[in-house]
């Protein structure tokens, strides 16, 4: 990632913002190197991807026009996304949500069965970052992506198997396993 900016309900999180709890303060130190300030719309200026895990109906298509070309929008708020897919698609190249009734559902059901299967099979003592990243690669590699299909179908049983295999291997490689 070239840059990561995290916003909360009060706007961009930056190092030194007065009202941050310890966890947000930790985030502020590791993200937003340019120490940008402002609101969500300011943050979107020049961004390639928006990941919303907040509340519904925050953005309009016009708010995305300052983003870089071929923008990626993941509006994950449930049940109402930060921006509805038909609205986001006016500007963005790829749009995903958490919902099963729109294309590109991004759902953790694709993840947790395989992650735990792999961890149990490896006799892992914990789930470390390497295992998580391996899971993401395995999940991504389940399909040849297109703009309307970036992840496999949620109930595809092969997904958990592939994720499990990758997680198991990563656990063994990083020695995160019981003897």
């Amino acid at each position: 990632m070239k840059e990561i900016i995290v916003c909360d309900s009060k706007g961009i999180i930056y190092d030194g913002r007065a009202d941050l709890n310890e966890f947000k303060a930790q985030l502020a130190k590791a993200t937003n190197r340019a120490k940008r300030k402002g609101n969500l719309k300011d943050a979107l200026d020049g961004a390639d991807a928006f990941i919303g895990v907040s509340t519904g109906n925050l953005l309009k298509a016009d708010d995305l026009r300052s983003m870089n070309k071929e923008a990626i929008i993941f509006a994950m708020a449930n049940p109402v996304p930060e921006i509805m897919p038909q609205e986001a698609s006016k500007v963005a190249a790829v749009v995903g949500t958490g919902r099963s009734d729109f294309q590109n559902q991004i759902n953790n059901s694709l993840v947790f069965p395989g992650v735990f299967r792999g961890a149990l099979d490896a006799k892992a003592v914990l789930i470390n970052n390497e295992m998580k990243i391996a899971a993401a690669h395995a999940l991504a590699n389940c399909i040849n992506p297109a703009s309307d299909r970036i992840l496999p179908y949620t109930l595809d049983k092969q997904v958990a198997q592939k994720v499990a295999e990758a997680v198991k291997n990563a656990a063994i490689e990083t020695d995160a396993v019981r003897k």
Binding site: M1, K2, E3, I4, I5, V6, C7, D8, N21, Q26, A30, T31, G46, D48, A49, F50, I51, G52, V53, S54, T55, E70, I72, F74, A77, P79, E82, A93, V94, N104, I106, N107, N108, L110, V111, F112, P113, G114, V115, F116, A119, L120, V125, L126, I127, N128, N129, K132, A135, A136, H137, A140, P145, S147, I150, L151, A160, D175, A176, R178
Partner: protein
Amino acid sequence: MDIKESALKLHKENKGKLATKSKVSVKTKEDLSLVYTPGVAEVCREIAADKSAIYDYTMKSNSVAVVTDGSAVLGLGNIGAEASLPVMEGKCVLFKELADIDAFPICIKTQDENEIINIVKNIATVFGGINLEDISAPRCFKIEEALLDIGIPVMHDDQHGSAIAILAALMNAAKVVNKRIDDLKVVINGAGAAGTAIAKLLLCMGHRQKHMHFCEGDNSLRQQRHYLRWKS
């Protein structure tokens, strides 16, 4: 019938979605003497002599507890332990259907962090893994952190399950638009459980060296200590 009525009907007719199942049959006195006393005592002695044998002789190696305090359930918020059970049962059904894992819902009545930590530590005997679920931020960070070194995998799914799914989606979306994932400028809106975990995962992936301190602060140092303890 709409989805709300259908869902109520499904849950009421089945009285929930989950049941336990025996792996062995108990038809004769001999069966009984193996499954239960006196035969089972020998298995207990084995485990008492070597606690790691619990993985060979019991359900532990394939069981996961789905643990919640009901404080951040779906988009419904703090609806409490009782109301969270249908979600946890559903999660357990998916564990079984998609990964053949025997998962069990645990809905804890207290929302005191230290009490939750202690409860999970003390029930971990039975389980090969702990899936923390629908626990509100920032409480979930402290709870998960305190449980990282209990010797079995613990994962707060609202954080890491979501982060992994989103990272995979981002990898493939980047492919679709012909951008390198390392070149992306990403805005995350929401600094709760999912938002924080996504930021951390992206940082630990993309800027391994630069943000090493951050990843270590997360769990790498803890992992190292932990590996040493487990391997010794």
